[in-house]
Symmetry: C2
Subunit: 324 residues, 2 copies
């Protein structure tokens, strides 16, 4: 173990950036800088989750800026809190940094994280900072609060299956970045890929309706998330291709737009099931679109194509163990 005071002092400068960019509201009694942060406990139920992103697996600095990465790493974890019908409170961010990363890069990373933290009223209260011999690694852990948490396990046969937003848009944005000059890429698809928005905006309507029986976020692609709901709720599903809303710019880009919705991942939209009777009485909560139904478990997980044929829906979602 070599001692290199010059690098150690660089390390301290990075900590200073972290400190400076740390956000804390009055519920944070002690933020970045001690062994742990001291905060007010959540009022109802404590939610806890973490989400890691690895260079070469989840992102490539060819297409993602440090600011985008800071934003997206926090947004991805925030989406898990949204998927529990919760509100975010406190975040810690651990970074492993290759030597090639500059102080400016780190500052940009935290600026991106700060933007989504401010927007969602999340306090960044600490984390860890270490070197990496190889790639850039970031892990975000979040504490949230939920009065009435939603889970993956309440769907029952007959429930409507519905999704928010335009699934596949993130994958379409990546495709555009990989294949076209930036100036000719759809702004809206780039936004979907680089600056995904956790859908806290949908939760008030969701809570008001009380029709929601299960909830998950679309981080791995529709097909995988439908499988997750099926497994947790012990139901089958029928997904109807004709009902899945696609981004018009994604359709223009490729005939794969529907495939991207199924397996692209990183959309951070919400996928929910809703009680049929309540939906028939009150309609579907704002921002959701029905794309199928929950079936009896022995009916399996099926997809009805536009041509009317049915086939098993295979979970082809974003596979972290298959890297491009």
């Amino acid at each position: 173990l070599n001692q290199t005071p010059a690098i150690e002092s660089e390390f301290n400068r990075i900590r200073a950036i972290q400190h400076e960019l740390g956000l804390s509201s009055s519920r944070v009694k002690l933020g970045i800088g001690d062994d742990a942060a001291i905060c007010e406990p959540p009022k109802e139920n404590l939610l806890l989750c973490s989400d890691a992103m690895v260079e070469g697996i989840h992102f490539d600095f060819k297409y993602t800026s440090f600011e985008d990465l800071g934003f997206k790493a926090l947004a991805a974890c925030l989406s898990d809190i949204a998927a529990m019908n919760g509100e975010p409170l406190y975040a810690v961010i651990s970074l492993a940094l290759p030597r090639s990363i500059s102080k400016k890069n780190i500052q940009e990373f935290y600026q991106g994280a700060k933007a989504i933290a401010l927007q969602t009223k999340t306090d960044i209260v600490g984390g860890d900072l270490t070197a990496s011999k190889t790639g850039f690694f970031v892990d975000v852990a979040l504490v949230g609060n939920a009065k009435s948490p939603s889970t993956r396990s309440g769907a029952k046969p007959g429930d409507f299956l519905a999704v928010s937003g335009l699934p596949g848009a993130s994958r379409a944005g990546l495709f555009a970045l990989q294949n076209f000059p930036l100036s000719s890429c759809s702004r809206s698809l780039l936004q979907a890929h680089l600056r995904p928005q956790p859908r806290f905006d949908l939760l008030p309507a969701l809570r008001a309706s009380q029709a929601c029986t299960s909830l998950i976020d679309v981080s791995d692609g529709l097909s995988s998330e439908i499988h997750h709901l099926a497994e947790s709720s012990q139901v089958g599903f029928l997904l109807e291709e004709a009902l899945v809303p696609l981004h018009p710019d994604a359709r223009k880009l490729s005939a794969d737009a529907f495939e991207w919705a199924l397996s692209g991942g990183e959309d951070y939209e919400l996928l929910a099931t809703f009680d049929q009777m309540k939906v028939e009485q009150e309609g579907i909560p704002n921002g959701f679109k029905i794309i199928g139904r929950a079936l009896e478990p022995n009916q399996g997980i099926q997809m009805q194509r536009i041509d009317g044929t049915r086939s098993p829906l295979v979970a082809t979602g974003f596979d972290h163990f298959a890297s491009s």
Copy 2:
């Protein structure tokens, strides 16, 4: 992004291991398997921290088994909770795994984590699991509770500086592993390096005495931690070499044993300051040994060598940006 169902199903098997090894007491309402865990909030103050370990920086699988790594990654983060005078509640563990890692390796990792979790009554409630193109990366985030949190910032000139255990033992254990056959290594030094114990056992006496004015854990080596206390408390320090307790096996191994105490890191012992008057009345809490004094801030941070000479104490602690 390739889709490889075979690998995806391997991923599911790993999740199953995680699930099976997840620990949850009655305060956990929903553990591993949803978007976030749902838990009872801490009763008093919420503590939140995270601690990352990177292959090639913090550990080398030549010397560290997967079980040791699971134990140590959680122990290191637990030590931050101990350093706040807190009790651990909930942990999430994020892993980035190279393809070379087997299912058995992962099982061993979680077995190690489970051992220290059980011992410290910590619930492992979730985490993230992803691939890594290069090394193994682990990040642990912990939520704890503290009735009366201790911080780094309460030391005042005149306070005694004291440490628990035998600092430098972890570095001595690593030295032994790197230089001698396993069978001839001191069991006690190996234990210190591979299975460090967060010092929750010292907290009851610490609380009872009320003499403690600041507290930190020795993760980066004594010299760096003394600097951290000095900076947070705005005091100077005098460290006396003659008072620093060293492991007899470390002394036998090398003349560097004191240097290891200063800069080796990963001891996960507690470093504290105690009010002079209270110590003179009640003695020092069990398990701590006085190694110096807090000074006025303008006196700086000094070390008195055994030969009586004084010199500035340089922060030479474990430097994550200088890798071996």
